[in-house]
């Protein structure tokens, strides 16, 4: 099995590039259904100590919307969207006519279902691009959603990945709608067991 801590700079660059293509596709999907221009931050592919992940989005007790999907297929992994409160309310107000809730804690079935669909569309767009590049079908599970502390979500997602290493490979990017400072953070965590195949498919073994 490829150990994530031994990845070379070229391999990380290649992973960052697939992050770029995947999130570019997801950004277009988002721009289309919001009918707005969406900017994308330069993605990063990094090997992180699992303990450092919550700090990226403002600390373990920062409250955010989290949408989680499993990536299934020969190349498997986890896909997580973290959406700050302000952005999630904006999405709900834009996508659901008449929606006026002022906190995600008041989300009902309609609002939850809408956010899960946002997750589904973004993950689908991201993974479609990856499937094309890797010539390997990658599917996402149905999305699961929660609104809670970022640290609590991240420990649940990375726990079993840390059974074999303290480090995880994370491809991360953000979407920014600059007029209103709306942000969405995207994290793709390839399963350590399928990393070798992913590297092979993108030609950097």
């Amino acid at each position: 099995m490829q150990d994530v801590t031994n990845l070379t700079r070229t391999q990380l660059d290649a992973l960052r590039e697939i992050g770029n293509i995947g999130s570019g596709n997801a950004a277009s999907a988002l721009a289309q259904f919001l009918n707005r221009k969406i900017d994308m931050a330069v993605p990063s592919a990094s090997i992180m100590d699992f303990k450092a992940i919550p700090a990226i989005i403002g600390g373990p007790d920062k409250t955010v919307m989290g949408i989680f999907l499993k990536v299934m297929g020969e190349i498997s992994g986890r896909f997580l969207l973290l959406i700050p409160e302000k952005t999630s309310l904006k999405l709900l107000h834009t996508l659901i006519p008449g929606c006026e809730i002022d906190t995600p804690l008041k989300m009902g079935e309609l609002e939850s279902s809408c956010m899960r669909e946002v997750g589904n569309i973004l993950a689908g767009a991201f993974l479609n691009a990856l499937s094309v590049i890797t010539q390997t079908p990658m599917l996402n599970s149905l999305p699961s959603m929660t609104y809670d502390m970022a640290g609590a979500m991240i420990d649940s997602i990375v726990a079993d990945m840390t059974a074999i290493s303290d480090k995880v490979l994370m491809i991360e990017t953000s979407f920014i709608e600059s007029e209103e400072d709306l942000r969405i953070h995207i994290f793709l965590l390839p399963d350590p067991a399928s990393l070798q195949l992913l590297l092979k498919k993108i030609g950097v073994v």
Binding site: D61, L142, I154, D155, S156, A163, I164, D166
Partner: protein, 161 residues
């Protein structure tokens, strides 16, 4: 002003009155607290996974796992002068943050909770309180003066165990 000591994932910390131990954003992890009311010493272990079988402790931090972190916490406390016979345990966490869907479920929280209970039982440590399971994240403050754990959960009243 007494010290407030944070305990991160896969960490173990012991402290004494008037210090406080705190943990923010607990999801499927389980926090094990041991407290000796006589010496007012206590400690927390932040467990991420149930079982260390097959891991190499030189490579992987054994404090990640219930079966190794609980004995380590016990030894750290008794080594620091806590009375074995008066130690009591409380546990917090083990939730399932993301509701299961048709095609996946993640029960690490439940597995962690069960493994921690088993490890406590093995050391004959009495479990006197727990706040585990459910779908919400938790943050805690462990007060070494009283042994009380204050729990905060998004959208719920503060509570104590």
């Amino acid at each position: 002003m007494s010290a407030v000591i944070p305990v991160g994932m896969a960490e173990l910390k012991i402290a004494r009155c008037p210090e406080q131990l705190v943990v923010y954003g607990i999801g499927s992890c389980v926090i094990v607290s041991l407290y000796d009311p006589k010496s007012k010493a206590g400690g927390l272990a932040h467990v991420m996974l149930p079982d260390s079988t097959g891991i190499d402790p030189k490579v992987i931090n054994p404090l990640k796992f219930a079966d190794t972190a609980v004995p380590a916490l016990y030894e750290a406390l008794t080594g620091a002068g806590a009375f074995k016979s008066s130690l009591v345990a409380k546990i917090v966490g083990g939730s399932e943050m993301f509701p299961p869907t048709e095609d996946f479920e993640n029960n690490i929280g439940r597995d962690n909770t069960e493994a921690v209970k088993k490890a406590l039982k093995k050391l004959s440590l009495p479990l006197i309180a727990e706040d585990t399971g459910g779908r919400r994240g938790r943050s805690i403050e462990f007060d070494l003066e009283s042994g009380i754990i204050k729990l905060s959960i998004l959208g719920e009243e503060l509570r104590e165990i």
